[in-house]
Symmetry: C3
């Protein structure tokens, strides 16, 4: 028997068949899909043999679903094994959204039934851990919301640059009674210290670009008009450097800064535990009723909506 | 035989009986007390079942003495064991002082004679370690001086917010030849990096709100007029979230960010070692003669006075 | 047979005999020397018995060569063993250059033939590790370029203060296909977090004073006109404090913040490995042809020149 993320509620059923035309200003693509052959949401472009670009393109909200996992996994496997690539930039093609939360319409088993990855971790954390260790420089260019999985992908990457005006980072999960599952409890304290990490994780609030820079959530927040040029110039610069020296520097930086896999695995377990609790199921049901995954306002101001659940 | 903090000096004796009316602008409460039944300095208010507020109220300087330990310990024990509380805010009722240094009038044995706590650590570090691990979110709202124990309580809490105009943090102890005893050598480097931690600990200077934010000593410095509302709104928000998810997130953040007890214990030992050295005894005697614990100017500009001792 | 840093290339031979009068605006001293009795490049001044000042004086570029190692080692040995000194300030006497990269003219064997130090590490990392552990407060006052060894000496010191207008920090080595060898992969992530450390190490760009402060590369960037007074006042203040308390605080801060020697040793090995690769040899040859160690513009805008090598 399949476990549905929202365990067989009418809401989940209704959501699964929702008319994408009602999903907001951006038409033409549903907020989530359960088709057998999903469209390509993760686009890989080889700018040069040494410099690749990955574009996240799942409008209208860049929600991350079970169908995204094999697509992103394929890209990460190529990054790990290609003999020439030195640097990869992740960006979004969806206005307002870099990459957001997990898709709550498909059954959770669509993810948990996947076999573990080569690290022995479940599919999603396996993929992020491998990206963080690959001998290739990963850079995220954040424009729009990097929430949940979007924040976790950013944290698993080597460097984070954000649009000062248009980037928003968050781990919103606590607002739904969920524990994040993709590494932020391991990565945020090492990046910004315990106090600010606890604020991000336990407040579940939006962190705009400039605050993200002050907290060390991103390397820098840049004026939106300069972001693309800055990231492209840095990537091209690194692409001209020696691949072995890059790999050696990364390997030595990993020692004091990468979390051990056991911490990442423990987070996934805590996420699953939280997802099955009645409190989270009820919170998610209410958020779906409010318009999560369908109404732009709910996606764009998610912490405002989560803030109403406990009252 | 009792060990006096200032080993049986006339100064200590004089201080113990000092007339509180001479203690500065704020009358009505002595700077320290040795009464059998001390007044309540640590006030616990249950704003709701989930959101508690602790007010530090020992005018005129919010000095932390041996009589404060069981009071704060009682509050922390309730925080640890209450089934409903999710978030606790620490604040001060004393203008100009969040919480300052240890009381140098009573004999040091008044503290060292206390039995160890459940962690096996001595009473003061035991209490702070337990606060840092309790499955409850602790937030300090710093207005006025958070010096010595005040800084250590802040560092043991989950999050620190400071008044941009009125907060001052410091570990002033080196100025008296003392090693701090409540955790800052373990906590500050993990929060702000080695270089800034060494500056705070070895310079013994006042760190105002905005520098405290730049250094990561506090999460944020907020305009004084906004501080109370910000902290209250954050606390109420967290109080609406799921207690189990809060506890799970804290537990996972603890792994990379909490110091092991052995580091905390070593600090207390180093503090005791330093307190017994003639250099520190002489420094404290001179500071008491200058007006420590009695004259507001000495308390408010403590680093200026410590800066004169070595010359 | 000696291994030359630039393995017996005509360029290296030519460089070794270069006329210093052609080296740029600053005449009178060669960019590197192979004399039997080198001039004193590391000047030790005892401001007081407790407060020492070390001046780096190897014009025109403050390049760090094999002849510098015993000079700096002698100073560090005195810092370690003197019974009175409490604080030491490192500064430069060379306008525009705090301390830059390794000297690529002498054979690399001039360094690798040196016996290991008391830590068991090779001479250069041994010296930096010992400075980082000495029971004395080390402060660098950075005006001009702190690149390569200059950045590594700064990172091995306790505190870093920089001229807002005139300081530039960098680990430029990746630009030449080199892995840095003096500790930055171990120290930078602990100081500024993984993301910013990877940017510094893999981008190889200049980091000016204010960005260095935002990244935590330095404690603070101060207006150039205030830097000397600030550092001098802090040093005199610390010099008045108790030496044993200083040592105890440093010892306890070391526990969570100093990297283990094995990480430092691994970096040196990776540096040597990279220095022998044809890619680095070719890059260095081309940089020398462009004017490394001879033309001020190459030294002052080194990342611009390294950025041209891969294209």
């Amino acid at each position: 028997m399949k476990t549905h993320f929202l365990a067989a509620t009418p809401v989940a059923a209704a959501m699964a068949g929702i008319n994408p035309a009602h999903a907001g200003e951006q038409a033409g693509a549903p907020a989530s899909r359960t088709d057998a052959a999903p469209r390509q949401e993760v686009l890989l472009e080889r700018v040069t043999a040494e410099y690749w670009r990955v574009t996240l393109d799942n409008p209208p909200f860049n929600i991350f679903g079970p169908e995204t996992i094999p697509q992103l996994n394929s890209v990460i496997t190529q990054i790990e094994t290609d003999p020439k690539v030195k640097v990869v930039v992740f960006q979004s093609a969806v206005p307002g959204f870099f990459l957001t939360h997990y898709d709550f319409v498909p059954p959770l088993s669509a993810t948990t039934d996947m076999p573990p990855g080569v690290t022995g971790l479940p599919a999603l954390p396996d993929m992020l851990v491998r990206l963080s260790r690959a001998p290739v420089v990963s850079i995220v260019s954040i424009r729009g919301r990097a929430t949940g999985v979007g924040s976790e992908l950013s944290l698993a990457s080597d460097m984070r640059f954000a649009s000062r005006e248009k980037a928003v980072l968050s781990q919103w999960e606590i607002g739904a009674g969920l524990v994040p599952g993709g590494g932020p409890m391991a990565r945020l304290p090492r990046l910004m210290g315990r106090g600010r990490a606890l604020e991000v994780l336990l407040g579940g609030e939006d962190i705009p670009g400039d605050l993200a820079e002050r907290y060390g959530y991103v390397n820098r927040a840049l004026p939106d008009a300069e972001l693309d040029h800055f990231v492209d110039a840095l990537a091209r610069r690194i692409a001209g450097f020696d691949k072995q020296a890059i790999a050696d520097i990364r390997r030595l930086v990993d020692i004091p800064s990468l979390p051990p896999d056991i911490e990442i695995g423990a987070e996934w377990d805590a996420f699953l535990g939280s997802a099955h609790r009645p409190q989270a199921q009820q919170n998610l049901k209410r958020l779906m009723e409010m318009g999560l995954q369908t109404k732009p306002d709910v996606e764009k101001r998610l912490p405002v909506y989560t803030g109403t659940l406990g009252q």
